[in-house]
């Protein structure tokens, strides 16, 4: 398992969070329990299984919604 911290463009509406939350959770291999989308710091934190998915796939799920991914950091758990 790996831990990802994804910095996104500034959120302004709380429904953005819900969208990103649902989008990220629907990626196969992402630990649903670990997903935390933070409104004020405009970040998403989550754990994922690197054998089932990759950080690129998770980023794509977010950019497909029209949000810009500024930076992401992946660490071993």
């Amino acid at each position: 398992m790996k831990k990802a911290t994804i910095q996104l463009e500034t959120f302004t509406c709380p429904s953005c969070m819900q969208k990103i939350d649902n989008a990220v959770k629907s990626v196969e291999g992402v630990d649903k329990e670990s997903v935390n989308v933070m409104f004020n710091s405009s970040k998403a934190k989550l754990n994922f299984d690197e054998e089932k998915t990759s950080i690129e796939k998770i980023e794509n799920a977010i950019t497909a919604l029209g949000y810009e991914v500024k930076k992401s950091l992946v660490k071993d758990l």
Binding site: C13, P14, S15, Q18, M38, N40, S41, K43, G66
Partner: protein
């Protein structure tokens, strides 16, 4: 691609749609050409709704009924009844509102952003060829050797290998007086090298550095949610779809599209969902600027209701650095005695000995021979071929030093004022008596008064010192209760007792040996210059051990908790008023509904922003 392009041009679209609406109405009032009027509004509506439709589509794709979905349907409905005036104005207001929200939200977040922007971004790292090259701070690993030049930020926590300099550690400790660093000194990420050049080896990098942890703590805090917020979140998840269903039902029964559309617009949740997080981020941001780290909205709520504050004594109410407060000399040759005393005490690292050495200052130092440390008594040694004994009364008795009436009276007087005693005898004669005590932090008394004024009923001090010393501090500071002879476990047991009586207890300690009490109290407040344990176990951290931040912290949490309540009140009030006016008034239409909706969102954001300027009067 097209989607991204349209979303990126949202601000331009808002402007164009404003111009079109203006053209339409100017034309209506002057030339009166209905064709131009209607077509301007149609174009404004279609243009304006484009980004909203895209957002709605994206939301539905991940199974979220968002506010965009409601607005899109409302515009479709307005088109169906050919009310282009409403559709154009509603889309414009929605886009313009979003723009203003973004601008103002950025303001409320600015305080915390200032903090995170102090994080170092690059480092000069030694490469394999021995040269230093600039790299991103993420690329630095533990063990790397880094060069820090004058004026640069220290990129990681590390140890100085070579070089010297002065570092401003304000970002970690809040103290802006530069600290001298040389070989083997510890340096911290985010601090600034004001002069000199140093090479360091990286010990901790990224989020593991002290600064990284402070930032992470504050970032988590601004997004941490209280029970009430989690409730609102759950509520809004079902609220939006519920509004949709309600509007469909109204439409089916009344066949009145206009009414159904108004309900869609009015039902948009906005102020309710955004109100509490906005107060939270502004309050925590204000704290971060003033050296108070608050760990989230739950802490804010609890702290604002506190009625009992328990203090540790040493290092909290007092400086934790004992000093010589009273001196009596029983000889004409004071300089010689003080030199002997300093020479003997120089050998010891006992806190009292350090206080004595510091008090005497620069003096002639003799060679000390045959040093004998008497456990629980003091030190006996030969200085300048005299037998010198330094210690407590028991040691003097053991050395057969006679204590005359004046000396006994002085001892009694010193003890009464809470001093620890250091007696000095030379060749069996008492020469000097010193009373050493811990100093009360300057300004503490006034700060405690402020806390009382803010409604804290009892202020309690708990200490491991003897009861006499603790009573003295309590009397001097006007505390309600004082208990001495307390071990760490006694302190936590005492706090448990208070809680059993229904008190809401805050514990203030330096975090070194108070961890159980910090964790147990509803609000653990650490006076730490960023010590790790304190940061981990406490709920509130007062940076740089600054006691005067405590009243500000309490006042701020009270103001923030109030602000949250005001925002919930505004939000709920607006929704109820709007819904009531749909059914009971004539003047309500889509545009007014959207206007009020956007205005209420701005109202809660602006209300939250007031917290950024909060200052304790």
């Amino acid at each position: 691609m097209i989607q991204r392009f349209i979303l990126g041009k949202k601000n331009h679209i808002t402007l164009v749609s404003a111009v079109l609406i203006a053209i339409a109405f100017i034309n209506k009032w002057t030339i009166g050409n209905m064709g131009i009027f209607i077509w301007s509004l149609v174009i404004a509506s279609v243009l304006g709704v484009a980004p909203i439709v895209i957002q709605a589509y994206q939301a539905l794709k991940v199974k979220v009924v968002s506010i965009d979905v409601l607005v899109t349907l409302a515009v479709v409905g307005a088109f169906a009844i050919k009310n282009f005036e409403e559709s154009a104005i509603v889309t414009f207001l929605f886009l313009f509102g979003a723009y203003l929200e973004q601008r103002t939200l950025n303001k409320t977040r600015s305080a915390i952003k200032e903090l995170t922007q102090m994080a170092p971004e690059s480092a000069l790292k030694q490469m394999e060829n021995g040269e230093f090259e600039e790299v991103e701070v993420d690329e630095v690993d533990v063990g790397d050797i880094l060069l820090v030049k004058t004026g640069a930020k220290v990129p990681v926590d590390g140890t100085v290998l070579t070089g010297e300099g002065h570092i401003n550690e304000a970002s970690i400790t809040g103290e802006s007086v530069p600290v001298s660093k040389k070989k083997d000194s510890q340096v911290y990420a985010g601090t600034i090298l004001e002069n000199g050049t140093i090479q360091i080896v990286a010990d901790r990098v990224g989020e593991d550095t002290t600064f990284g942890r402070i930032i992470e703590l504050v970032e988590e805090a601004q997004d941490s949610k209280s029970e009430a917020e989690r409730f609102i979140d759950r509520f809004s998840k079902y609220y939006t779809p519920a509004v949709l269903v309600l509007s469909v039902i109204v439409w089916l029964f009344s066949q009145d599209i206009e009414l159904a559309v108004i309900i869609l617009v009015l039902g948009c949740p906005g102020a309710l969902v955004i109100g509490v997080p906005v107060s939270n981020v502004a309050g925590i941001g204000n704290g971060a600027r003033h050296g108070v780290l608050l760990k989230g909205s739950e802490v804010i709520n609890d702290f604002s209701k506190v009625d009992t504050i328990v203090f540790d004594k040493t290092g909290t109410l007092t400086i934790g650095n004992p000093k010589v407060a009273d001196t009596e000399i029983y000889t004409d040759n004071a300089d010689e005695v003080l030199s002997y005393l300093a020479s003997v005490e120089n050998e010891s690292d006992h806190p009292l000995a350090k206080a004595v050495v510091e008090h005497i200052g620069d003096t002639k130092l003799y060679t000390v021979e045959n040093t004998d440390v008497v456990k629980g008594g003091g030190i006996v040694a030969y200085v300048d071929s005299h037998r010198v004994a330094v210690g407590n009364v028991a040691l003097m008795e053991q050395e057969n030093v006679p204590l005359d009436e004046k000396a006994r009276a002085d001892i009694a007087r010193f003890e009464k004022t809470g001093n620890s005693l250091v007696l000095t005898s030379v060749d069996g004669q008492l020469k000097a008596l010193m009373g050493i005590r811990d100093q009360i932090r300057p300004g503490v008394k006034a700060d405690l008064q402020k806390l009382k004024k803010m409604g804290v009923k009892s202020l309690v001090v708990l200490s491991g010192d003897n009861q006499g010393t603790v009573d003295l501090v309590a009397r001097e500071l006007g505390l309600t209760e004082a208990h001495g002879h307390m071990l760490p476990e006694d302190k936590s047991a005492y706090i448990k007792g208070l809680q059993a009586k229904g008190k809401i207890v805050a514990f203030v300690g330096d975090g070194v040996n108070d961890s159980p009490s910090l964790a147990l109290a509803q609000i653990g407040i650490a006076m730490g210059s960023g010590t790790d344990v304190a940061i981990e176990t406490s709920d509130v951290v007062l940076m740089n051990s600054d006691f005067s931040r405590l009243p500000h912290a309490l006042g701020l949490t009270k103001a923030t908790a109030n602000n949250m309540r005001q925002n919930i009140f505004i939000a709920v009030g607006v929704v109820l008023t709007l819904l009531a006016s749909v059914f009971f008034s004539e003047w309500m239409n889509m545009s007014i509904g959207m206007l009020v909706h956007e205005a209420s969102i701005l109202a809660v954001i602006l209300n939250g922003m007031r917290l950024l300027r909060y200052k304790l009067r």
